[in-house]
């Protein structure tokens, strides 16, 4: 059994802990054995925290021995490096934060520590969460555990890859335009983007403040719901965290989808979509129908085609403001040898930021600059309203919407790095949901086969009304339990 500990779901590992068949120290040791075995090929971590993890595991064992603890107590997990961890270096995937050690924990970390989690490390990511492939990290690209010559998706590349390859039972990522759902899809794990405002952003290094949300990855819907239950809720330190009650998100898990009204937005089946993705998603929809869901294939969200433009105006605009704080004065990398304060600042940002971050700062600065604000930023915010209204209308008579996550399975490392616009179009199915602030989940729904015979995971996106994650979990859990896709493990 000990050899296979890393393959368990979080709930199965937690059950073994409670039955005293295994200790947290043993689980954590097994996680680091797995890390030593596969991390050299996957490169999912920026920082490993073995010493901290072993001491957290010992503390968790004491808690459990006293008969206390939560479902997360003693379970090894990984945290995206854009989330502040007190005393543990936090880089956001950027060279500009290479020396940065936070002096406080993000709110989610405070909650997870109270729950007794074990942190094995901080995961690799696209710099400041800007990217769809993981290749924009200043610390090297993460490789897809299913196909090491391919991308794991991004920006939460390492968080998806650690869970897919058994280096952690669950992880946290962040999703601004698809950065949890898309890598979950490409790595064959479950990933949730919560409703905007559901999870406090306090201590999350900001990218697009009106869009950013922290969300969990795991190898089952139930595990994702359990982590989400722990991190959700209002927080005084984030004035955009929603002052709404947190229900029991698992309450409907186990309910069938009989009678669930499922809408299929036709605009999400885009030109250029990989036929195997289309087949897998259509197969999943038929499966849901067999299970008793009411499928409506006539749903239209006509402004979908404008969402990528809206997003790549709004998110970079917000980013250009958020990233103004990296001036080489207060923290992080600092160029000190210039002739003047201004030169030091410009050189700090020139050497500290990578190319994609610079590109987005440039787009955002342009869109907000005098003479262009109305044509770009204001226009994008107005079209954002139209996109929201179309979702509101669709949810009048549907409980969930179902769509692809990514139009293609994992692509080759280096394949799209020279064409930023092509890279942005990867996010066409996830971005509209982010713009509207809605909750959505990616669940495994099949595999494509690469020309060399490698199997590449495909995810199904389920989208719900604001703050109705419980219905998401109901639908996703029912589908997952009716299929075997989530049981597959990469041949590492």
């Amino acid at each position: 059994m000990a050899d296979d500990l890393y393959r368990l779901t979080m709930h199965d590992a937690a059950a073994l802990l409670r039955q005293k068949q295994v200790s947290s120290v043993e689980l954590t040791r097994a996680a680091f054995e797995r890390i030593r075995s596969v991390e050299p090929a996957v490169h999912a971590f920026i920082t490993q925290t073995e010493e901290l993890a072993m001491s957290q595991a010992a503390a968790a064992d004491a808690t459990l021995a006293a008969g206390h603890g939560t479902p997360l107590t003693g379970i090894p997990a990984a945290i995206k490096d854009v989330i502040s961890t007190k005393g543990v270096r936090t880089t956001a995937g950027s060279k500009i934060l290479a020396p940065f050690v936070p002096v406080y924990d993000a709110n989610v970390i405070t909650l997870l520590k109270e729950a007794g989690f074990v942190m094995v490390g901080k995961t690799n990511q696209d710099e400041f969460a800007m990217g769809s492939s993981g290749e924009n990290s200043a610390y090297g690209a993460t490789h897809n555990p299913w196909a090491l010559d391919r991308v794991p998706g991004g920006s939460s590349s390492g968080s998806a890859a650690t869970v897919a390859s058994g280096m952690a039972y669950w992880s946290l990522g962040t999703d601004t335009g698809g950065s949890v759902r898309q890598p979950a899809s490409l790595c064959g794990v479950v990933g949730l983007k919560p409703t905007y405002g559901r999870v406090s952003r306090f201590g999350l290094i900001a990218f697009g403040s009106s869009l950013d949300q922290i969300g969990p990855f795991a190898r089952s819907v139930r595990d994702v719901a359990t982590v989400f239950q722990t991190i959700a809720g209002p927080d005084q330190r984030d004035s955009t965290s929603a002052p709404v009650d947190v229900p029991d998100f698992g309450a409907q898990m186990g309910d069938s989808v009989r009678g669930l009204r499922v809408g299929i937005p036709s605009e999400y089946f885009v030109d250029g979509m990989d036929p195997t993705v289309r087949d897998a998603v259509e197969g999943a929809i038929m499966r849901l129908e067999d299970m008793g869901a009411e499928i409506d294939s006539e749903v239209s969200l006509p402004s979908t085609g404008h969402a990528v433009s809206v997003y790549y105006i709004i998110a970079p605009s917000e980013a250009s403001a958020n990233l103004a704080r990296f001036d080489g004065v207060k923290y992080g990398y600092s160029y000190q040898d210039g002739e003047s304060m201004w030169e030091n600042m410009e050189r700090t940002r020139q050497h500290g930021f990578g190319e994609e971050v610079k590109r987005r700062i440039m787009i955002g600065t342009y869109a907000l600059s005098a003479g262009y604000y109305d044509a770009y930023y204001l226009k994008a915010q107005q079209v954002r309203t139209l996109i929201r209204r179309e979702f509101d209308a669709a949810f009048k008579d549907h409980d969930v919407l179902v769509a692809p996550v990514s139009p293609t399975p994992a692509f080759k490392l280096g394949e799209k790095t020279d064409d930023p616009l092509q890279m942005y179009l990867n996010d066409v199915c996830t971005i509209p949901v982010s713009i509207a602030g809605l909750p959505a989940i990616s669940v495994p729904c099949g595999f494509a086969t690469a020309p060399d015979g490698t199997r590449l995971p495909i995810g199904l996106q389920i989208i719900a009304r604001p703050f109705d994650e419980a219905t998401l979990f109901r639908a996703a859990h029912a589908y997952e339990q009716a299929t075997d896709w989530h049981r597959e493990f990469p041949p590492l």
């Binding site: 002096v103 905007y196 004065v329 590109r359 770009y376 929201r388 604001p466």
Partner: protein, 96 residues
């Protein structure tokens, strides 16, 4: 919508972002094609449509005005690239 190298330099200056000449050449091409892609938005009828800044209508969130401890100066300065006493140290801002 083609961005000239001078426009790229102007935007970079607004953002206090140092760019090499190669960066400027690369970005003027790439940013121009991205702006071209945005052009389609111009044709969307948004007459009378209010802008969305946040997805949900959040009102001001109020809390009781009770003092709580603030960050300790040592914490605030812990990551300072250069400091002098309890201050961040920078090059002179005002030149003679």
């Amino acid at each position: 919508m083609a961005l000239t190298p001078d426009e790229v330099r102007h935007i970079a200056r607004l953002a206090r972002l140092g760019l090499t000449d190669e960066d400027v050449a690369k970005f003027s091409g790439q940013l121009s094609s991205i702006l071209d892609y945005f052009e389609a938005l111009r044709h969307v009828d948004t007459e009378g449509v209010p802008p969305t800044a946040y997805a949900f209508d959040l009102r001001n969130v109020m809390r009781d005005d009770e003092p709580t401890p603030s960050s300790a100066p040592e914490d605030v300065l812990a990551n300072a690239p250069a400091r002098e006493g309890e201050y961040f140290r920078v090059r002179a801002i005002l030149e003679e």
